[in-house]
């Protein structure tokens, strides 16, 4: 019951759709891990997402759903400055990580705090399984004398891959199956000890069994990390997330507790989408 109260997200009564972040029974002093204020991203002057206001609590998993092209990836990538790489892109509005405006962060530092797992598994092809896991630590030139083998073992265990690869750490990462590669990418991401992990459709290139493993993983990881996961799969959102945000045509339509979203959505559009009327 207690938990219910804390997590319920409701719309301000007659509020505008983007203002969906009023939380009831706000515990005093508890801050948000991720918060966006009027976040918009433009490509070639055209908005891909507009005025997104979203708050995410620490150690929760938030699913982002919506039809293709609605701006889910764009939103996620804004959170770790990935639009840097795209010429003619512009980001407006504010993003706070741990209540700190990310404009205060150095890009590189920000990305160490906010890790990312991509749609297609992308291990570094010229590196072994072991090298892949510790690549972030090594390339960042971490001078502390960490025991890399210990770190690798830990992260691989965390990612549920250790038992499968412990005898072949020196083999090329690309010799793993797609699902294993994706878990390797997750291990590589947690090796740099981020606080937040962004996942952009992490299972859409995988078979059902690998998908299930990743979902279980997300469920475990959210104890230690704050997870934002884009998914096309409604069941997946329902299974792994605490909160769900529904995007449509670049706007945040509804942001609710996942259970509520899938049983009693506030918006007609949301209902139509999750019942498969479009999308």
């Amino acid at each position: 019951m207690e938990e219910e109260k804390i997590n319920i997200v409701t719309l301000a009564d007659e509020g505008d759709l983007s203002e969906t972040d009023v939380l009831e029974n706000e515990p005093q002093g508890k801050s948000y891990e991720v918060e966006t204020k009027n976040l918009s991203v433009f490509f070639n002057g055209r908005p891909a997402i507009a005025e997104i206001n979203l708050k995410v609590r620490k150690s929760t998993a938030t699913a982002i759903i919506g039809p293709s092209g609605c701006g889910k990836s764009t939103f996620l990538r804004a959170l770790n400055f990935m639009h840097d790489m795209v010429p003619k892109s512009k980001v407006t509005g504010e993003i706070f990580i741990n209540s700190r405006n990310i404009s205060e962060f150095d890009t590189v530092d920000l990305r160490r705090k906010v890790g990312m797992v991509f749609q297609k598994p992308n291990p570094f092809p010229k590196m072994s399984i072991f090298e892949n896991v510790v690549s972030g630590i090594k390339l960042n030139g971490n001078k502390e004398k960490k025991n890399l083998h210990e770190v690798a073992e830990n992260c691989l265990k965390h990612a549920g891959l250790w038992e499968e690869v412990k005898d072949r750490l020196k083999q090329p990462a690309v010799s793993l199956s797609g699902g294993q590669q994706q878990r390797l990418c997750i291990a590589r991401t947690i090796a740099v000890e981020p606080e937040i992990i962004l996942m952009d459709e992490p299972t859409s290139a995988l078979d059902p069994i690998s998908t299930q493993k990743i979902e279980e993983l997300i469920f475990h990881l959210k104890k230690e990390f704050t997870i934002l996961v884009v998914t096309h799969n409604m069941q997946q959102a329902a299974r792994v997330s605490d909160h769900t945000a529904f995007f449509y045509m670049g706007k945040l339509i509804e942001y609710s507790r996942t259970r509520r979203m899938f049983t009693n959505p506030r918006e007609k559009l949301t209902e139509e989408y999750i019942t498969g009327k479009f999308g």
Partner: protein, 294 residues
């Protein structure tokens, strides 16, 4: 019934199967013929050079200096060492400049400047090598008031740049964007991502490009005529004219002496072998440790 028919027809022999098979085999034979034609010159060159040069090839050829006209024997020790020095100088200039320019074009700029570089490297790769020699003559030989190994190495370096830039560019373009993003998302800085992930992933192709450039530069004669000039004596001084295999081969080949002609063939054989050996060594040293495991 109707459906059934349609179904079986997929597996039935099509009427034009024979014709298709014939066309197929004609195309295949044409490809084989073309492939043979393309490798024939190489075998012929190898065979003919070996046949004509092997008789003059002995230890002396590698250790002795050229003998004066009329005396038999002697070798091209100075030319062999000179060519190695010139290639090294050329590589010191050509490889870093070529790779960095290629990196700049693909990784760091998308604007007018990058197109300008692409255009200029294309033009440069089409410039006859003798013109490159004249250029090096203008910027190095004249100010230094004399032919020199440095000027020769400079000319070869310039010659190598467009090949290496182009290949680097093409190879970097083949590296999927997702790898760059994966690295950046780990908090790895841009330049480390470029060097340790992107360049490393593309290294196989780039090394091939470098070897091509070296092979081409090693055989160049024209740009050396006004720069390294040639030297009948032993010299490893970078500020002095230096001997090189191609120039020596050229001089010997146009001479009226039979003995020198034979030596020219031997020189050609050594030059080809040299390129081959450099290729082999670089391949072994830089071989991909995962190449056979995947």
């Amino acid at each position: 019934m109707e459906e059934n028919k349609a179904h079986t027809s997929v597996f039935a022999k099509p009427k034009n199967l024979k014709r298709r098979k014939i066309v197929n085999s004609i195309m295949l034979s044409l490809c084989v013929v073309a492939a043979v034609i393309s490798i024939l010159p190489l075998f012929y060159i190898f065979f003919y050079t070996t046949k004509s040069g092997i008789s003059s090839l002995n230890l002396d050829f590698f250790t002795q200096m050229p003998k004066p006209v009329g005396e038999a024997g002697g070798g091209m020790a100075n030319g062999i060492v000179g060519t190695l020095i010139l290639i090294s100088l050329g590589s010191i200039i050509g490889i870093p400049v070529g790779i960095l320019a290629g990196i700049y074009v693909t990784e760091y700029s998308g604007g007018i400047f990058s197109n300008l570089i692409k255009f200029v490297t294309d033009v440069l790769s089409g410039v006859p090598s003798i013109i490159i020699g004249i250029f090096a003559y203008g910027v190095i030989v004249i100010p230094m008031q004399g032919f020199s190994a440095l000027a020769g190495g400079f000319a070869l370096g310039i010659l190598m740049i467009p090949t290496i830039t182009r290949i680097t560019e093409e190879m970097l373009k083949l590296v999927p964007q997702s790898l760059r993003e994966a690295s950046l998302a780990l908090g790895v800085s841009r330049w480390k991502t470029t060097l340790q992930i992107v360049l490393r992933t593309a290294s196989g192709g780039i090394i091939t490009g470098i070897l091509l450039a070296i092979a081409r530069a090693a055989g160049e004669t024209a740009p050396l005529l006004f720069t390294a000039f040639g030297n009948r004596f032993w010299s490893t001084d970078l500020n002095q004219p230096i001997a090189s295999l191609p120039v020596q081969i050229f001089n010997y080949a146009i001479s009226p002496f039979d003995d020198w002609h034979k030596q020219a063939w031997a020189g050609a054989l050594v030059l080809i072998s040299l390129v081959f050996i450099v290729n082999l060594i670089v391949r072994i040293v830089t071989r991909d440790k995962f190449a056979n495991k995947v």
